[in-house]
């Protein structure tokens, strides 16, 4: 079990991750949510630029679809930093992104809700 507060090198980590994004703190596209899944494009498109080392770390983790929140946790980077890097990878054509299932009280998907309920019931 994880502890409530990690914070071992918080000051140092705040500097380093945003260095990875060229100092940007806002993504160029706002449509990556915590549960948006990303998948590497294999093989990469011919025109794609050579990925940076940190980008390569991401690409290795999303050979199979993986959620943004999981990537952030696995690579130990803030979500906001991961999202900026994912925007670059998406624009370079190196990954695809799959948005979460839309959930709206106005248009409930009863079949989807029932699937979630049944799946939980099988636990």
């Amino acid at each position: 079990m994880t502890s409530e507060v990690s914070g071992s090198d918080a000051a140092g980590r705040l500097v380093r991750p945003f260095a990875l994004t060229g100092g940007r703190t806002l993504p160029s596209r706002a449509d990556f949510t915590l549960i948006t899944t990303v998948t590497v494009v294999d093989p990469p498109p011919d025109r794609a630029p050579r990925p940076q080392p940190e980008q390569t770390r991401i690409l290795r983790r999303c050979v199979r679809p993986v959620a943004v929140a999981e990537l952030a946790a696995l690579l130990d980077l803030p979500v906001s930093v991961i999202v900026i890097m994912l925007c670059d990878l998406l624009e370079a054509g190196l990954i695809t992104a799959h948005p979460p299932h839309p959930v709206s009280p106005r248009t409930p998907r009863l079949d989807l809700l029932q699937k979630v309920r049944d799946g939980l019931g099988r636990l």
Partner: protein
């Protein structure tokens, strides 16, 4: 994100449920007892979250400039994956809940029987936003000194909000709370369907 999806037909649909409640009430414990992976932790910096500058008052330490989120995963099928997010318990981080709540199926509000007042605000949050929720009363070492109805009264909860006595450490108990939540979510969706209204009628 039009067209970006074509090359990844295997990507599953994703949905999320929030596990909310006061600080130290057992949210991460509940996530861990049903998740197929050990709870993961991710951090978000307050600067990028942007909102809620007023909420920065209480922060004295540098390390508090990041807020931690614990989450777990339940693969329902190849096409559908459920994520469970424990909401940050400290009051000063509530502005994050707004972001988290967007697109959530519903929420479990966990209550510690020893200090139920620490979860009042969580109840309020979901009530105001019309997000379906159930209340899970997490016993101390699994013991429950109060019946569910006493808790309902203390929280002034309407009849349609289920109150369940649970043990967040137990997989079956946590599962039952989540199933009760989905029953509530489905019931509200049904009511919305038939009446064309978003809020159920008051009985």
């Amino acid at each position: 994100m039009a067209g970006s999806d074509a090359a990844s037909p295997a990507a599953p649909d994703t949905v999320k449920i929030l596990i909310a409640g006061g600080f130290g009430v057992g949210k991460t414990t509940m996530v861990g007892s049903v998740s197929e992976i050990a709870p993961l932790r991710t951090e978000e910096s307050l600067t990028s979250a942007g909102l809620g500058i007023d909420d920065l008052h209480g922060i004295e330490e540098k390390r508090a400039t990041t807020v931690a989120l614990d989450f777990g995963r339940i693969t329902i099928s190849e096409e559908l994956v459920l994520y469970l997010f424990g909401t940050p318990g400290q009051q000063r981080f509530w502005f994050m809940w707004n972001d988290l709540a967007v697109g959530a199926l519903g929420a479990v509000v966990l209550i510690d029987v020893r200090r139920p007042e620490s979860s009042f605000a969580a109840v309020d949050f979901f009530e105001r936003r019309g997000i379906p929720f159930v209340v899970g009363v997490n016993g101390f070492h699994g013991r429950h000194p109060y019946p569910a109805e006493d808790i309902r009264e203390a929280l002034a909860l309407p009849e349609h909000v289920p109150v369940l006595l649970c043990d967040a450490r137990e997989r079956a108990s946590a599962r039952d709370v989540l199933v009760a939540l989905m029953d509530r979510v489905i019931a509200e969706a049904d009511e919305g369907d038939s009446s064309g209204q978003l809020t159920p009628p008051v009985h």
